[in-house]
Symmetry: D2
Subunit: 370 residues, 4 copies
């Protein structure tokens, strides 16, 4: 990761501000010969799109992605893929008053202190709108993974909103696409809907969330220890998403409370290879995937843009009260779900290529001849 | 981060295996003219050293660091600094039986599957002994930070072991150096000592921990959004430490339970600049430091090397029971404290240089002329 | 340099194919607060533009650059600057016959062998049209250098075409902009014009060239030895330009014929610092600028697209004769001049930032207090 | 390339000063399972060793390489390989007088201006002694290439010393190892020997050289356009060698004098694939290898350390005459031969891994089914 680029061999550089003419991603290092066109990327953007459901910002953006390079007759050519999304619903007048004020919880003050100036329109570069570019890049990664790892599945979902958690005994992957929360537990939808409605309308407030992303079908051997471990890169990928304050792999922070006997994921030989009797490790040991499900979880802080006044200062140092009007998600964690899936896809593809580079994708054998 | 290197401008490459002739760190990009010799690095290694206290492995390693390059007459020259630590107490016979067996919770199986072979002596490259090289590199970073940011303080300590947490109302920074746990709460030392003794000796078990690292005096403006955010790099730095399963910035995972009104760190103008009335953000907004304390926390899983048998397989796929004899910390989180401080120092120096490169270290002004 | 990106801190990623919808450059790491708009970049593109003069391809492209991000109210914000140039005059029908044929001297065969497929329209990614994106990025670099190094001058020009060389005793920098060759010697223009006319029209041929780029006002201290030496990075920058086959710094290949007494650039103390009595070094010693003029020279091979038939094969391995019709420069070296200036600007800005990062831009002193 | 590291996936970081305790290379990204021990590296160091023959410096260094990590039971493990060479014959008293003086043609002044201080002992980091570390790293690359590309041959040799060139009609590869010049033309040895003897002893002078390196058996498809082209990386690799002032690929600077009909390397279908009727391209088109011989050539300036006095200044700005006593090669180009071979090996291995990462090493087909 460096400045606005992430990835080792599959390298994604995002660009653009919330209210500039366009934003996008320059995707370099995609393998050649992969079937790709806009129709393979757009569905992921549609999932993340603002205004899609009742729980997210009412800003209306069609978020149409356009491929400007790197694809010829429906196949990637191995050259950079430029993905552009034009901003159409900018309404910059909504944001004019914040140019001289630093909104608490936002990056306003930090950008001003670092750069000496900032684009105040909709948060500029620090807006969560940047994640649309990640989702588009994730679409490219998914297309490549479909070809290279056809059995791979990536599934993201909410597991917690505020203090409310899902009941994992009711986990139903099919439910995720059916509700506005990307939540795999139909039993919480009604309550969460009502909670969020009151929080926004009555309390003028917002709330945090926890998102989990699982990848099934990840081959063993991905991850480049010591400093490009798979878990390290996943942690960085998730932490780089706006508003994320914590990242967990497998047992996560709860690993602190385990004993060694509890935590050790015991191993048995299965029909096709080693099998683990539990997965506290989250599918990663020593920074390398083991073939188990890769499990990542992260916390998203509550939306900082709220209607309840918060104390702050303006550029002259005067005390001000900040109320952020406009169209804001009361729980930004919801839309982080497709973003996190995209980051997972990018990281896995990147490590697949990286591993292929160093080891040729060969695998150590286990068995009588091992 | 890439393979065995981390950092953008202050780049640290660690090398070496647990039981090879030596291990070390190649430190590139250190500013020139910094006062440096072994005596400035050794104290940090001594803090991390195995066998130092009753709570950690009894392996006796003097861990003497030697500077092989990059320093002339006690000053850094701007060229690579090679830090070598020779392995003296290798006892490789202790580890011979594990060559054909995969220890649960360890990287053995993953390394075998990825690379097709592995150095089985003491975990080879995946051993926590690698962190000695990080601590040495951190000593170089500290020397540079002493010159460039004389007011900076970095403080790491345990806040939790198993289910036992410190009482933050008794927080005493001076206490940290006085006990075997790097814990800032004298009130827990006796209980933790007894708990750990029983855990190892009676239960033949181990336990996880949570470590916190705080940096005071970090100037505003460090962090290179979007993909080299300060929190992203810190998360990666901590996650790359052996056995770490979760990383938090500021409020961390608990941010999920906060509302927007609670989470917003309100701002007031202080005598020397903006001041925040709380620090849920952990000193970082939009990936950039704000001048507040930078707060990072991470969970370390329990030591996987325990005397209680765990089920596993050998290289032929046969079922085996693994008991790991030898000299192992019952709580590897303890020794993660100096390692985490070293990583914090490296990341902060790196971002100081990076920011100096891009912005010249200029800062946006706040005030009547702002 | 990696894949489609060059630079350490000032990082330029170019994207786009000759006949795709657009091409451009994603410029990351530009310092904030730099005055920038399209009018500061367009003149450099106009200089490079095809169809500009009688000596270059008749393809008509307005080559209008558009800034899509990273600039707010006429100032850079420190975030990525997306520069897009739409392709308007594509005429892909001119190139349809080459889809199954490998043109000698072109990248066709190599791209096919590497990627398994290629965009055959106008050379796709391997077209010299990609250099328009470099020139645009160079415009950004120039804007930043204007602010950071106001005395810096970068001057590129032809010194040789085929076997014809300029007479350096007639060197006149003002002449460069007045002729179609970017040549600083008015005395050769008529002859070169006639030579090139005959070469194209009568001989159906093309010819190579040598271009020189000089930078005056480069401060001492730029260059990061050993592997990011200023001359190393300049050599890579120039060699990456299409059709370049050789790069020289200072005395260049002729250094082989010098003796040590001839080659040593002797030093004397001038009024403002050290002065050199000659410049065989081309302004760089040990990979670091000395304050002298930085001098780079490179050879461009003749245009491979010619009307004289050349033997080749098609994708089935059948022998074919290739005649490349279309609008092609008979001497591509001419248009390499503004490209080389752009690369020089990018490399110098990058090293200025890199040096500022590592050393803070401090300089060793010479003098009684030295 | 960045600071002291080169390579994308096969990454080499060199460290150490001429007269420090040791120097070496940290080699990261080597594929696992490669047969490697010191005996496979030492012969390359022996070829480069000072004092080996009458034509090079009389400094006596055994230059014994020691592998400190990354190898277990004679096989690489995929982890960093630390190669250390201890400095045994330092004689730092020989160099004490230059601490306050800047030797013309050397990096002394540039290092002082950049870093504010320097290690003056034997040129410190800017000494050609650093190339021993490259040669050691090249030994690792060769070991990996032996396994991955068994038919690859890399051959370096002198083609010019001063104004004296070899007669290519007498080219004899076997002759290279038989003489002190690494020259493939037995007919020049006596004359060159006498010339160099007189130059050093009588004229107290030195002279430049041109070295050529050829790689046979390079598969098509290596090179990552646009900014990690194979020729770009080779140019950077050679230009980074001490005293190199020009680099050529294939026809090199002479390409400027060719016409398009001359320069086009025509193609015919051979029995195993495309064949070229000439090789002006030096085996690289569009930055990608074509399967032809890869041909690189570079000029080395004359040794700057000579007994003839040259004018310079000291650190106080006073005029001084510099005479460099000591043991210096009169033609440093000679010892650049094994260094250049090592760089060629490193770059080729790196690009083999990089290509394997992006394309999986698949190749486009030519033929009836093409």
């Amino acid at each position: 990761m460096s400045f606005n680029t992430f990835g080792h061999l599959f390298r994604v550089t995002t660009w653009g501000e919330s209210h500039g003419p366009a934003l996008g991603a320059t995707v370099d290092g995609c393998p050649p010969g992969i079937a790709l066109d806009e129709s393979l990327i757009q569905p992921f953007l549609d999932r993340r799109r603002p205004g899609l459901n009742a729980m997210t910002t009412q800003r209306q953006e069609p978020d149409r992605v356009r491929i400007l390079s790197g694809v010829y007759e429906g196949r990637t050519t191995g050259t950079p893929i430029q993905l552009m999304i034009e901003n159409t619903d900018q309404r910059s007048r909504d944001y004019s008053e914040i140019a001289r004020t630093f909104r608490p919880g936002h990056a306003d003050l930090a950008y001003h202190l670092k750069y000496g100036l900032r684009d105040p329109r909709g948060g500029g570069r620090s807006s969560a709108r940047e994640t649309a570019a990640r989702v588009a890049a994730g679409g490219v990664a998914r297309a490549a993974l479909s070809a290279l790892l056809p059995d791979l599945e990536i599934l993201g979902y909410m597991v917690q909103m505020g203090a409310k958690t899902i009941d994992r005994s009711r986990f139903d992957a099919d439910e995720i696409a059916r509700n506005d929360f990307f939540v795999p537990d139909a039993g919480v939808v009604a309550e969460w809907t009502e909670y969020l409605r009151r929080l926004r309308s009555d309390a003028h407030d917002s709330v945090g969330a926890v998102v989990e992303v699982v990848a099934r079908g990840v081959p063993a051997g991905l991850g480049a220890p010591i400093y490009a471990k798979l878990d390290t890169d996943l942690a960085a990928a998730m932490m780089s998403i706006n508003a994320v304050k914590g990242v967990e792999i497998g047992a996560g922070m709860a690993a602190a409370e385990l004993t060694g006997t509890q935590n050790a994921d015991e191993i048995r030989m299965g029909e096709t290879g080693p099998e683990f009797l539990s997965n506290h490790a989250g599918g990663i040991l020593g920074g390398i995937s083991t073939g188990q499900e890769v499990v990542v979880r992260f916390a998203v802080k509550p939306t900082s843009s709220i209607l309840t006044p918060r104390r702050s200062i303006d550029i002259e140092g005067n005390p001000v009260d900040v109320v952020t009007k406009g169209r804001h998600d009361p729980c930004v964690g919801i839309r982080a779900v497709p973003v996190a899936e995209a980051m997972m896809a990018c990281v896995l593809l990147d490590h697949l290529l990286l591993d292929r580079g160093q080891t040729g994708g060969q695998r150590g054998r286990i068995g009588p001849q091992g």
